[in-house]
């Protein structure tokens, strides 16, 4: 048979396949010299064409009495061989032989399927169908699963980047710019999904250990259901559970190490060893944060002691030993405080309270509302503040009538301000103010995990987070 026949048959099958609904089935019955082969075509959940075949030779169909002896049985056998799907399906009959048995079988089939298309076939229909399926245009869009990061908050969102629209044919190509961060143990996953209705459906999942960086990736549609990526190291199939994979996604990108202002207020009244201990904790915190953030760290240091309640004894006001200085300067100032030791001790300095409220007033006043850098206020001490007025605490009121409740509220409401505290007492014994001062992190002087406290207060360099999917590079 000449070539045009082959093309016609191919086109007819391709058309029938293209018109195949998601749930529909297409039956192609090839009646050839050696027998009858039935092909059943349908689409899978991703819209990708799938096919199966059932071949039957003439002897298979003739039955035990032979083709001529029992034509009715042979007819039944032929019709049964063509009925491979219970529900009524589109039927295409392909006549591929002039054999008399083939002619008869074709007649029976035409009679049984009067609506069936009749085609002439010369080449093997199986090859033809494979060709048609491989060249089937996409019936649903293909997308690559990527991450989008909110530039403000670093919040992460999974989304799809369109690779191939409906109707795309093998050979289609798309370029995508991707960015990878630290990959986890399983590498970065390239997941292709198809869209039909509200939910995407996973088509393929491959992964590779991608070094952090930007990748210009070309996606090529090899055939329906198969996308090849170039511009990446070799990918291998990834059999991880989809939900687990999505579940491993962090909420947000690690914050970029930004500038931070660490304000340490240290209580320097009471016993010398206690004061030394507090100052040494402040030193550890400043040193650690400086190691993490380098030049991005600014440090302030305030020292406060106990109020005098006898006018004949000098009042030692809150001392601002360093303000918005670099860590080195602040540590020098701290050294001076360490040398000096406790400044107030014993009568007539209040034995049970400290001018914590004055220290808060100094911090709140100096920080103001304008400095945009995030501030971390770290208070190191243990005594309660003086109340603004005589009350049942029986602690004498602050001579300046500072109200610690109002002052700590100012700090707590200040934008970008984090409050941490290292308290002499265990949380249960600490004055309520210490709980407010340690709103983000409250450590006990005797057991300070400096690294953990710094991390809680945002004073550590961000640790890499493992992203299971690539980020879409939107700078392109």
């Amino acid at each position: 048979m000449p070539e045009p026949d082959r093309d016609l048959t191919r086109k007819a099958i391709a058309q029938a396949l293209a018109g195949l609904a998601d749930t529909g089935h297409l039956t192609v019955v090839e009646v050839a010299a050696d027998g009858v082969t039935t092909f059943l075509l349908h689409r899978d959940g991703n819209g990708r064409p799938r096919g199966r075949s059932w071949p039957a030779t003439w002897p298979d169909l003739a039955g035990e009495h032979g083709w001529d002896a029992d034509p009715a049985a042979a007819r039944e056998a032929v019709l049964r061989a063509a009925r491979v799907h219970p529900s009524p399906a589109d039927v295409i009959l392909v006549a591929a032989s002039a054999d008399p048995r083939a002619e008869r079988a074709l007649d029976w089939l035409r009679a049984a399927h009067p609506a069936a298309q009749m085609l002439r076939g010369d080449a093997p229909t199986a090859a033809l169908i494979r060709e048609v399926m491989a060249d089937d245009p996409l019936t649903r869009p293909y997308e690559l699963v990527v991450l989008l990061a909110d530039p403000g908050t670093g919040g992460l969102r999974l989304t799809g980047r369109r690779l191939f629209p409906i109707g795309s044919r093998p050979g289609a190509r798309t370029r995508v710019a991707l960015r990878c961060t630290e990959p986890g143990a399983h590498g970065t996953a390239l997941a292709v999904v198809t869209w039909q209705g509200p939910e995407p459906r996973l088509l393929s999942l491959q992964s590779a250990p991608l070094a952090p960086g930007r990748y210009d990736v070309t996606a090529e549609l090899v055939r329906p259901g198969r996308v090849r990526f170039t511009g990446l190291p070799a990918l291998s199939p990834d059999h991880r559970d989809w939900e687990r994979l999505v579940g491993s996604l962090p909420d947000r990108l690690p914050g970029r190490a930004g500038p931070a202002h660490l304000v340490c207020a240290v209580e320097i009244c009471g016993a010398d060893d206690q004061v030394a201990e507090r100052l040494s904790r402040a030193r550890q915190m400043i040193s650690f944060a400086s190691g993490e953030l380098g030049d991005l760290l600014r440090v302030s240091l305030l020292a406060y002691a106990a109020h005098s309640f006898d006018p004949s004894a000098p009042e030692h006001p809150v001392r601002v030993a360093a303000w918005n200085a670099d860590a080195g300067e602040a540590l020098d100032a701290l050294g001076e405080l360490e040398e000096q030791g406790a400044v107030t001790r014993g009568y007539p300095y209040h034995p049970q309270a400290a001018q914590l409220e004055d220290a808060l007033a100094a911090v709140a006043g100096r920080l103001g509302h304008t400095d945009p850098a995030p501030a971390v206020v770290l208070t190191v001490g243990g005594r309660p503040p003086h109340p603004p007025r005589t009350d049942r605490s029986r602690i004498l009121p602050c001579p300046r009538r500072h109200d610690w409740r109002k002052l700590v509220a100012v700090l707590r409401q200040r934008p970008g301000t984090t409050l941490g505290a290292i308290c002499d007492h265990a949380a249960g014994q600490a004055h309520p103010l210490w709980h407010e001062l340690g709103a983000t992190a409250l450590a006990h002087l005797e057991a300070v995990d400096v690294r953990g406290l710094a991390a809680d207060l945002g004073l550590t360099a961000p640790s890499p987070v493992h992203l299971p999917f690539p980020l879409l590079d939107e700078t392109e």
């Binding site: 034995p351 029986r394 004498l396």
Partner: protein
């Protein structure tokens, strides 16, 4: 403050009694200061060197050392005379007024350890007298109560908040006293013959002052340059009642009932007392509601201290009241 033995022991002993730490010794010490400050012409004079020394010592502690007295370990007996300003006798024909006899109220105070009767103890140590029945000092206190006709009873509201044992300290000696008076035929109108000044001590404590303020019991004296809050005579009983409501044990109400049971209503008077008074800023020289605490928090192992000047409140008044009442009785008896 010179001993005045020639005059002998006055016969109107006033006995002082209260739970441990209720402020008895401090009250005595503040008495001298209060009299001096009051400028009303009254003075206190020791009847013997020990009594004078005692007054000097306690007063010095309070004024200079700004420390409270230590817990009394022994019963100490002291005698003083409160001597008032001489009345000016103006005769019609006399161009020059002749000073009359100054009023003289004898006080024989005993500074007894507060734990003599009660089951409780002063928290910071002190004697441990459980019932103290065999204790000779207890006998002496009872003798003293029996021979006195005036009683200063100190009710410590702070102790009552925490221990609630004022009743335990008051009831046993009262019944003993009643037995003795009955035996002596002195239970004439069904009540003890004594006058009793019930002093609600530590009025300067924020908790006490707040209670008085909450009940609207405060007034100020127009003559008082510092405008210190006070509780007027009739309202002091209500303050006492109010403070009983927040007692730790709830038995404080029985204190009031017992007082009414044993003492004639005309012979009971309540005072809101503070030996140290309120703190007043030296420059402002005015009572400040924001900053009035005159008592300093104690440091570990140290006695409480006083912050500023002493401004004793209702320290002289109970004694004058008792003294005047007793003097009136005596002169009435003398006349009849």
């Amino acid at each position: 403050m010179q001993p005045d033995p020639s005059r002998g022991r006055p016969d109107h002993d006033i006995a002082m009694w209260g739970a441990p730490g209720s402020g008895k010794t401090t009250l005595l010490a503040a008495l001298y200061i209060a009299l001096t400050k009051s400028g009303n012409g009254w003075k206190i004079v020791g009847s013997d060197p020990a009594s004078s020394d005692y007054l000097v010592e306690r007063t010095k502690d309070l004024l200079q050392g700004k420390v409270f007295p230590e817990a009394s370990m022994a019963l100490e007996r002291y005698h003083w005379s409160l001597i008032g300003p001489p009345p000016r006798k103006t005769g019609f024909w006399n161009r020059k007024a002749k000073p009359g006899q100054p009023p003289r109220i004898g006080i024989g105070m005993i500074d007894a350890p507060g734990g003599l009767f009660g089951a409780g103890q002063r928290p910071a140590g002190g004697p441990s007298p459980q019932d103290g029945s065999g204790d000779p000092r207890r006998q002496e206190l009872l003798d003293n109560l029996e021979h006195s006709r005036g009683i200063v009873f100190l009710f410590d509201p702070i102790r009552e908040f925490t221990y609630g044992d004022a009743f335990d300290h008051m009831y046993p000696p009262l019944t003993r006293l009643a037995e003795r008076m009955l035996a002596a035929g002195e239970f004439t109108d069904g009540k003890l013959p004594h006058h009793i000044a019930v002093c609600v001590t530590k009025f300067d404590d924020p908790r006490v002052l707040e209670t008085a303020e909450a009940r609207g019991l405060l007034t100020t004296d127009d003559d008082d340059p510092y405008r210190l809050p006070r509780v007027a005579g009739d309202d002091a009983r209500e303050l006492f009642h109010e403070l009983c409501q927040v007692s730790a044990t709830g038995s404080a109400d029985m204190v009031l009932e017992t007082l009414d049971q044993y003492f004639h209503p005309d012979r009971i008077r309540f005072f809101a007392t503070s030996s140290i008074g309120f703190y007043v800023d030296r420059r402002a020289r005015r009572f400040d509601w924001d900053d009035f605490q005159n008592m300093l928090p104690e440091e570990v192992d140290e006695d409480s201290r006083i912050r500023g000047q002493l401004h004793p409140i209702n320290v002289v008044e109970p004694l004058l009241w008792l003294g005047q009442r007793l003097a009136a009785i005596r002169s009435a008896k003398g006349v009849s």
